[in-house]
């Protein structure tokens, strides 16, 4: 029974990470590429880590809680790395695709 739960969690988690990576390849410009890794991947990783937690709690003595910490750190760092990258992209004036709306909302550097 537990093996089933772990396998299902691994599969769903793996497919979310895969979708995030597909987004990274498939999207037309840098700004849109960022959306995959910052979101789809966080939930995927959370599911994979839950699977790992269940596996180690059931096979070894005691409850394995390190995975909660890893998920927390991921949730904290994903938006920050995304922010750093998009800031760098704006600073370098990377091209965005033509139909991007509200491009004038970007203010010039000081």
């Amino acid at each position: 029974m537990i093996e089933w739960i772990i396998s299902i969690l691994l599969l769903i988690g793996g497919s979310f990470v895969l979708v995030g990576s597909i987004g990274l390849v498939k999207m037309p410009d840098f700004f849109m590429r960022l959306h995959g890794p910052t979101k789809a991947t966080t939930l995927g990783m959370a599911l994979l880590l839950t699977a790992s937690m269940i596996f180690f709690s059931s096979t070894q003595a005691g409850f394995s809680a390190k995975e909660i910490l890893i998920s927390l750190f991921l949730l904290l760092t994903a938006p920050i790395s995304g922010y750093m990258m998009i800031k760098a992209a704006i600073h370098h004036k990377l091209d965005s695709i033509d139909r991007t709306k509200g491009i004038d909302n970007i203010e010039d550097d000081v």
Binding site: V19, T38, A65, A78, G102
Partner: protein
Amino acid sequence: MRSQMRLEAKFRWLPTPLRSLLLFIVWLLLNNSVSPGHIVLAVILAIVIPLATSPFRTKQPLILKPGLAFRHLMLVLYDIITANVQVAILILGPNKKLTPGFVKVPLDLTHDMPITILASTVSLTPGTVSAEVYPWRECLTEGKEPEERFLLIHVLNLEDEQALIKTIKQRYEAPLKEIFQC
């Protein structure tokens, strides 16, 4: 009486109670044990580290409504899950249907900490990544509050700009204002 935004904790020897609690829990989780020795060590670390690092920290608003903060956290976690599914569908769909856009959201929040939390929640929730906070930090004069702040966000599929701004303000910013009373 309406409570005011506070920058300092009530107790001198425990400048950041929540951070101490977090350190305590993280230490126990890292060691994966609740033996008495580790609990004593965790208590010592939880008290000493905030005291030792407090001179380096800039004062940030404290969480004044812990209950509301917890409810907001649950809402955000729920939104992260739905956001993931939505973005997955958008990514797998045809690229031609997506109209990305930059949107400027006016902010009512004032301090770095609440703005950082808002920017991070925006990055983790449906189809939006926060990009920049205006005005630029370099343009600010020391000790003077800017008249208006904006959060620049990039939206994966922009349909209704006003509705999006309204959602962000009501769903994520209003609870933060309430939690920090700023």
